[in-house]
Symmetry: C2
Subunit: 346 residues, 2 copies
């Protein structure tokens, strides 16, 4: 005889010193609560629905349900194009009237409230009070640290940041980091869960303002603002320089691998030893760090891990193949849109 | 009766006050001289061959011809995949023994010598002395200004910078700018020629170290170096943050359009008015410019030109379609490579 639900729950609720029982298996998550359903929160809802989860959402705005269902419907063709999980359906979304209802049965909670510190602090304390004991709660914040936000929660150890990129239903990156009062198990659990939910996850061991992705994005953005401010380039030139230049490669090879390739057969070591002096050149307003022997060696060693044994010829072949695939894919979309516009105009 | 060649040449060699006759039509270029055939010069050779030009190359290295033909052969499948111009063939490449021979019959010259100022100055003076009178000569330099490089040329007015991105046979961006002694017609002519040769061209009206694309790329790179220097992120995390995050979008929407979309229906104006204070946040080591009313208005006005009448809904639909196309294209290449590796392993 199978144990009834009560017994089953009790059995799995053994207290693991590393990770409490109820949250034991990130792969077993069935129900996700989304608190806040604006652009980011709604994007999370669409993502979790497409991955086959049941989603319970709450947002205090009057027209929240209508807007949210509209966002999901608008994103669904894109998600279908990418491939839905089995059983995925917009019908598995419930929009409820209170925060307590939203989180009561959740296996995981994603908070995406407006970026105001008091709002985040209060909401995380409320979610913590209402959600099942060992359920992990993640905040989408891009501007605050969990250390700042978890101060009023009774169980701050299960609160983490799970920072997505817009739109969360398509862009895979999620950066996961805890606050000072967060338990390591919660960070690990969240990373495993996001991976199970189809995301590309970076786990950070310290709270860094802007995480990693936003630091890179913001550096590029501020350089762009300086150029416009000085009349050196227009927004149009900046955007074209990106999309016809480095942006095409950055869709598949990051800055470290790109600069490794700039060193030819000598890779990152040759690049740094040969072009290191250009770090003093005024090619951006951002001052470079000193290229110490330690930094040089760290870059070489870490980039070697990214390269992972691929030869220069391998990397060139892989880069070219991907560049062509990306360029052809984008050209096809352009052509489709032109055809559609021509047909609509007839 | 058709005029014989002499008459014809004479007729078209009338001196235009804006642009000398012999260089009259960038679309009529048949023969391109490539001086220097390393990674960048060789990449240019492959590009021009693929676009159907006859290419005459010169490089002082002993094994230059062998390496160059190897590079062209390695790139040819990629170029075929992207689509060749009619009549394009690696057989239209001649490698010659002297610089004078290389440029003697050229309709355009691309110089891609090593990045050493004295080398560039000497070589540009030699090319200028040997190339037909009104032929435009472009340098691939990424580190020097044409003002610095054109000092020993007898006809500096026809010397421009045509700065490509690596690999020049695939990445479309070329940044064109003249030096103080360059004539405006030469900059215009080069831009028209590169466009005719299938490139995405940005014409700059001033010499900016790092041009535009490299400034953006270098800002991201220096931020990455700082993060590694401080143990905040590894090369692997940085590369993943880029390729799973902002890099995916930057393949088709640049930083200005991306931040316009971050403002929702309110666009760039809302973004700057609402998130402007975050420019003071320590999200990168790069200090932001002051967000003056002038800068705000310039960003809004210039981004409007990029937006070019598209609604928020249009932009979201276009972004999602391209994100999916890029992600699917990259996933297909991954799958193909895995299949090939599995077959090779059998």
């Amino acid at each position: 005889m199978l144990p009834d639900n009560t017994e089953y729950t009790e059995n799995t609720l053994q207290h693991d010193p590393q990770r409490p029982g109820a949250a034991a298996d990130p792969e077993a998550v069935r129900t996700v609560a989304c608190v806040g359903a604006g652009v980011i929160g709604g994007g999370w809802v669409a993502h979790f629905l497409a991955r086959g989860y049941r989603v319970v959402a709450w947002d205090p705005a009057e027209d929240a349900e209508e807007r949210l269902r509209g966002l999901v419907d608008a994103a669904w063709p894109a998600l279908t194009g990418l491939g839905l999980a089995e059983g995925a359906s917009p019908d598995r979304l419930s929009v409820v009237a209170t925060l307590a209802e939203a989180v009561a049965d959740a296996d995981f909670v994603q908070e995406s409230a407006p970026e105001r510190l008091e709002v985040k602090i209060g909401l995380l304390a409320e979610i913590d009070a209402a959600a099942p004991e060992h359920v992990v709660v993640a905040s989408s914040t891009s501007g605050y640290s969990m250390t700042e936000m978890q101060v009023k929660a009774a169980r701050p150890e299960r609160l983490v940041v799970g920072h997505p990129f817009n739109p969360p239903y398509l862009v895979p990156l999620v950066e996961v980091v805890g606050g000072e009062a967060t338990a390591p198990w919660a960070v690990e659990w969240a990373a495993e869960f996001y991976r199970a939910a189809g995301k590309s996850v970076i786990t950070m061991d310290r709270e860094l303002p802007g995480f990693i992705g936003n630091r890179i994005q913001e550096a590029a953005w501020r350089e762009a603002l300086h150029m416009v401010d000085n009349g050196e380039a227009t927004a149009e030139q900046i955007d074209l320089a990106m999309t016809a230049g480095p942006g095409l490669r950055w869709a598949f090879f990051g800055p470290c691998l790109t600069f490794h390739m700039a060193g030819g057969e000598g890779g990152m070591a040759h690049m740094l030893d040969h072009f290191g002096p250009s770090l003093k050149a005024p090619w951006t307003r951002l001052e470079s760090p000193e290229l110490t022997a330690e930094l040089r060696d760290a870059m070489v060693r870490e980039t070697d891990e990214v390269v992972s044994g691929r030869s220069t010829a391998d990397l060139i072949a892989q880069r070219d193949r991907r560049l062509i695939a990306v360029m052809r894919a984008l050209a096809e979309v352009d052509a489709e849109e032109e055809r559609e516009a021509a047909e609509a105009g007839r």
